[in-house]
Symmetry: C2
Subunit: 198 residues, 2 copies
């Protein structure tokens, strides 16, 4: 029904997460009405991103430099390391602008159910780096889930014996949340981790 | 904060309707994880669509042929013409698979408020075509709105004197709708246009 190239375009827009048939159709027709500059900017940036972006060899976050801006910055605190499960989490933290330490990206989380083992997510490289760079604190910033807990416990274990403090993100009631809509697991954790008001 | 090319990619994904900052970021990171074939398919289809798709010189719907498949098909009913305000509406009707006539696309609707006049939306070309191709029925398939009504009335007027039936889409309660959520204008129209059960 659609001309072949529009059909192909709709199919390929559906590669994006959350884009179904209707949204892809809407996007394809909008794309046909982009002006020439917009089309060039879009296709250029797509090609450029794929050509230039690669993992930083040191921390595995995404960069277009030989070594990423954070690893190579003398202004950052090289004593603290934040370990994240996905390169995009680095940018979430950077948006805050308050964290001044270093990062290390592992490839997802340990998941016995999905048969993802410690050796699959690059923990060896993490351990090597921690030994070499002598951090004083490691912050494990994984999502609060069974996999996050398992991975955090496993890392804590392999760091045993090294002179380094290991912490995890506080978990509890999100700011601004309506108490009645908080799930019981979150509430339980918030109660358990309650903080003394001093 | 983001590497330059990712920043550009996020900016350009926001050209699409309904894609804000968060969605564009999500799409950009997903894009970075596409495999090589997906990237090629996506960029190819984007380039191909822009190179090949153009308005059919006869009906102004979108095609990759000299004249579109519908205009050139002897299997279609060349006596009935459906006039739509946007090329994508043609594909909506084609998806139904029940309409077998021809189409004509005008460039939007007359809108006194937005200073869009009859001469801005290509009604002259429509009139020429109707005179030349001698249709027996013209179906005006505009969206139910003030602009749709004005445009329909205007077309009805300029066709006055020609031996052709002019109809518009039925307007009323959509199938499966919950009666309590129907707006009063729609309900009014549905009542006015009530059909005798025979």
């Amino acid at each position: 029904m659609y001309p072949e190239s529009i059909k192909k375009l709709i199919e390929s827009l559906k590669f994006f997460p959350g884009i179904g048939e209707k949204s892809a159709e809407r996007m394809a027709f909008a794309y046909l009405e982009f002006d020439k500059e917009q089309v060039e900017y879009l296709i250029d940036s797509m090609q450029e991103t794929r050509a230039k972006i690669h993992p930083c060899p040191n921390c595995l976050s995404l960069t277009d430099q030989d070594v990423c801006d954070i690893c190579s910055s003398p202004a950052r605190d090289h004593n603290v390391l934040c370990v994240v499960e996905d390169p995009k989490i680095v940018f979430l933290f950077e948006k805050l602008g308050t964290y001044k330490g270093m990062y290390h990206v592992i490839k997802g989380l340990i998941s016995p159910l999905e048969d993802i083992n410690p050796e699959d997510i690059g923990l060896e490289k993490l351990l090597d780096r921690i030994k070499k760079e002598k951090f004083t604190e490691i912050i494990l910033a994984f999502k609060p889930s069974v996999e996050g807990e398992i991975t955090a416990l496993y890392i804590k274990q392999i760091l045993d014996g090294l002179d380094v403090e290991v912490s995890r993100l506080a978990s509890g009631v999100p700011m601004g949340a309506d108490m009645e809509y908080i799930d019981s697991l979150t509430l339980e954790r918030a109660l358990e981790d309650r903080k003394k008001i001093s």
